[in-house]
Symmetry: C2
Subunit: 122 residues, 2 copies
């Protein structure tokens, strides 16, 4: 498996949990300390820290400790691989629909391609 695939595995898995998505949404507004994040979630601190750790491992956030305070930040461009993958699917899907349109047009106006046919003109 390529590194890029592994990245996407980890990224999508990190995004598959509502607490982790809520943490990301909070951090998209700006940095927050671990205790600020904890106060917004009804769960034990170790559980919250496990979610934070998963987001860090996926490269979606980073954290820094100063004294006893750990501050978390969203990683700039964190969602780029996910966004790129989605755009690729969209490009393939749109390309497919364009080919389908061309096919339907060809079915509706078959004479355009075969003007040399012996078929008598109306």
């Amino acid at each position: 498996m390529t590194k890029h695939s592994n990245d996407l595995d980890t990224l999508f898995a990190a995004l598959s949990d509502p607490t982790r998505r809520a943490l990301l949404t909070r951090l998209a507004r700006g940095p927050a300390t671990l205790s600020e994040l904890h106060s917004a979630h009804d769960m034990a601190l170790p559980s919250l820290m496990a979610h934070v750790k998963k987001l860090e491992t996926a490269g979606l956030i980073s954290s820094q400790k100063q004294g006893r305070i750990r501050t978390c930040r969203l990683t700039p461009g964190a969602f780029t691989p996910v966004q790129s993958w989605l755009e690729e699917q969209h490009r393939l899907w749109t390309g497919r629909l364009d080919r389908f349109d061309a096919y339907v047009t060809q079915l509706a106006h078959p004479s355009q391609e075969h003007t040399d046919d012996a078929r008598p003109k109306d």
Copy 2:
């Protein structure tokens, strides 16, 4: 947890596997039979079918059986909830950077706000 959150949980979890992403990429190009999908993947048919089932449960694809042939299709708009969630994060992040820009501008030109304040109304 809201239905929407559950949807996102299932969608992101479905996308966290390289085989399932490869199946989606194949189906973005157009429908394919189960045996066509199987021939492109070096795994036992039951394993492949389990991946197909997960994609169906997440609403990303649908499948239809005619005789002994099952054909799979990408669901139109399948990625919309994921795309919307990403756009919301981008909007929050950009809004934050805009506020940061305004703050830095204010720091650099602190007099501007006071001038505005003191300016008599038209």
